[in-house]
Symmetry: C2
Subunit: 443 residues, 2 copies
């Protein structure tokens, strides 16, 4: 048994507590639940000892500690049996030095945390490994759970279906019909989930999944982002970034924001390091939103007064959300981290992604939003030339081939593709090829 403990606590009443293996999503007052850790017990180990422990496990073979998430098990979910951990050794993604892109935009110490380089191609694996492991633990303890369900614009459903398939736990995925990319729809299908494509938007899917899971006796466990278990895994991204800099804290972390659970999670992991003495200062956090789905940006401009909006269609489909589940948690996080919210137009996000690709990255549209926000903050002098900046890339560009093809065919709605690089079609003739190359190399 672990000497460490974690539990759900009501945001508005820390004394209202539940085991992490209870089927409970809301506090008595209807608020969200947070996972709290026994910080006193964690504090009995020194900061140096934690760093050494985490470094000794990093990407190694001892199950399950080689996972970037489970290598921090005591901080994440200490009471799950190792045998119930469902893991693809998530985390440990490359911290990519965007050397050429950084020089282009005027900040030389620029890095991209490639969270999309993952089993399901997005950062959602970090949280889903924790949630599905806890469900496996619940089942092993005899709870009558028959399936796990979520409503998702794509990446969450892909991760849930993959981890469910890995564990042999049935999954149910609610998708807004025709609103997600082929690559995103096919993952839960391929992973054997029951995929229900509903005539409606994401909010409609949320209503239905909540109704279906509201009764604990339904045997269907809810995996949406209001489920705080996923935050415990997602929060390791900030810890990993610092660890990958040999425990040095960057000046800025830029993260794309939709439902905003990831912004809150990023802050939570960093604050745990701060409270336990592993770091002595905090980075500033920039949350980047698409201009067409920018409720947090509007709140930031408006003295943090928040109002839900109706999100418009954006290429950054996974953050096309008008009323984020984690709005309040994200605002508190940004206040704590001297945070900024910046936005990017379709033109700005598409061009930023294209410029990153030309310098060796392979950016999804959401990463494009974060890169565009970074460019604007550098141009405005908010981010200084010498600052160390980390941009969190949330999904692999391979999930958005259509977006990239449309860009390079100059057919993205509302976008003029300044960096388009269409292929040249030629006969299989050496002289014809030599002529084209002479032109190109002459440029």
């Amino acid at each position: 048994m672990s000497r460490y403990r974690a539990w759900f606590a009501a945001q508005d009443d820390p004394d209202e507590r539940y085991p992490l293996t209870d089927v409970v999503y809301y506090s008595r007052s209807g608020g969200l639940l947070e996972v709290q850790h026994d910080m006193a017990a964690l504090g009995e180990r020194s900061a140096e000892e934690w760093k050494q422990l985490f470094d000794s496990r990093w990407m190694r073979t001892t199950w399950p500690y080689g996972s970037g998430v489970w290598g921090k098990k005591e901080w994440v979910c200490p009471e799950v049996d190792d045998a119930n951990v469902v893991s693809t050794f998530e985390g440990g993604s490359n911290l990519f030095w965007a050397e050429r892109f950084g020089r282009e935009i005027g900040v030389e110490d620029l890095w991209i945390k490639m969270c999309g380089n993952a089993h399901t191609g997005s950062f959602k694996d970090l949280g889903m490994t924790v949630l599905v492991s806890v469900v496996k633990q619940m089942i092993s303890e005899g709870r009558p759970i028959r399936a796990i369900a979520c409503a998702s614009t794509g990446d969450t459903s892909a991760a849930l279906a993959a981890y469910g398939a890995l564990a042999g736990i049935p999954t149910i995925v609610f998708l807004p019909k025709g609103k997600v990319s082929l690559a995103q729809l096919v993952q839960p299908v391929a992973h054997g989930a029951t995929v229900l494509a509903l005539d409606g938007d994401f909010d409609a899917c949320m209503r239905v999944v909540r109704a279906v899971t509201s009764n604990p006796d339904s045997g269907i466990y809810l995996a949406n982002s209001l489920n705080s278990l996923r935050v415990e895994g997602q929060k390791t991204v900030g810890i990993e970034i610092v660890q990958q800099f040999d425990w040095a804290v960057p000046d800025w972390i830029v993260i794309p924001g939709g439902n905003l659970g990831n912004t809150f999670a990023l802050g939570k992991g960093l604050l745990m390091m701060y409270d336990l003495g592993l770091i002595s200062r905090l980075p500033r956090i920039v949350c980047a939103q698409a201009e067409r789905a920018n409720p947090l940006y509007r709140a930031f401009q408006n003295g943090w007064r928040y109002e839900p909006i109706k999100a418009e269609t954006t290429a950054a489909s996974a953050i096309q959300i008008g009323d984020p589940v984690s709005i309040n948690r994200a605002i508190s996080t940004l206040k704590r981290f001297d945070g900024i919210v910046e936005q990017a137009s379709e033109q700005e996000l598409a061009d930023a992604a294209a410029r990153a690709d030309r310098t060796g990255a392979y950016a999804c549209p959401h990463t494009g939003v974060a890169l565009a926000a970074t460019i604007k903050l550098v141009e405005r002098g908010v981010i200084a030339r010498g600052d160390r900046v980390v941009v969190i890339s949330t999904a692999h560009g391979l999930k958005f081939s259509r977006f990239k093809v449309d860009y390079h065919e100059n057919s993205l709605p509302g976008v003029t593709s300044r960096y388009a690089n269409p292929p040249v079609e030629l006969p299989a003739d050496v002289d014809a090829v030599r002529r084209v190359l002479a032109q190109r190399m002459g440029e």
Copy 2:
């Protein structure tokens, strides 16, 4: 300066040698060149010392040794300056325990090496980091190289374009027009390569790129798989697999085969470990081919008498090759490793990929070929129930969304989709959803 040395040597005359930084592709007799290492120098370090060195670098932050490839730099390409290494920290991909799939097919110790979980989504990164780093070294030494070119059915061009973009070295990619998936074509385009789509098949592309690069004064360096530098990076996949089992050798390694450079590379890495005493036995190697592109399989059936064929269209597009560049090297490797060649029909490869997906993997068609071959060898009792088997997954399933969508829509040519799992379209209505779920859960 490194105390270790490597050089090109002619296969037919080991005394015909060239520096790795020479622009040379063939021996005087027109044969392939091999990279040879100073094994005596490498042998001055004990096997235990090598294991400890490699483990101490594994996925850590010290440039460039955190890369799975460059963590073995002395064995790969010892004389490249660290400053000229072009790396995305490739390698270190998850060794995925296919627990449920293994139970289904009757071999419980089954693992999938997820090489597609990489910067460009395929195992080609392992080799390309070495080739582009050597070119950067050549340029830094004043050689007049203006660009790197390759002909490719997809993954190679994606990797070349990405590493070229990262290094700021122009790249030229020759693709057979309309023969590769959208996701594969768009990568070199996005990475800013000059993409020439030729009216012709892969062999036609090869002829053209060889003509264009034949003259060393062209300033265009050839990056095709006849270039043995890439083998040096690719060979680390076998070393990594053993390292990820804490230096225990599996009984079988199954790898899909097209141009067959990867089969040769797999063997080369394992033999280096064997010759330097890190392992005391060799695994058996299975090369898996698509039935519609099976020249090596035919040779195996025919007492290793090889004849080129005209490959037919297969969903496993990256191994749709009738006359493999590395045929002879691959045959020698298979002889040395008590090797087997097995083939898979379109039906077999598609079903195998679908079954793997339902159990948590996300298999590309080529991985489907390898999994189908594994199933057949288990059914025939060649692979025993208790054997430890590693299947090498060469690309991320995300690169083949169309293949998966077609499968689950039951529209793959010549395939009946036994494991199709189409989405269910419904109104956003709770009762309608409850009815469908009651059915499904009742099953």
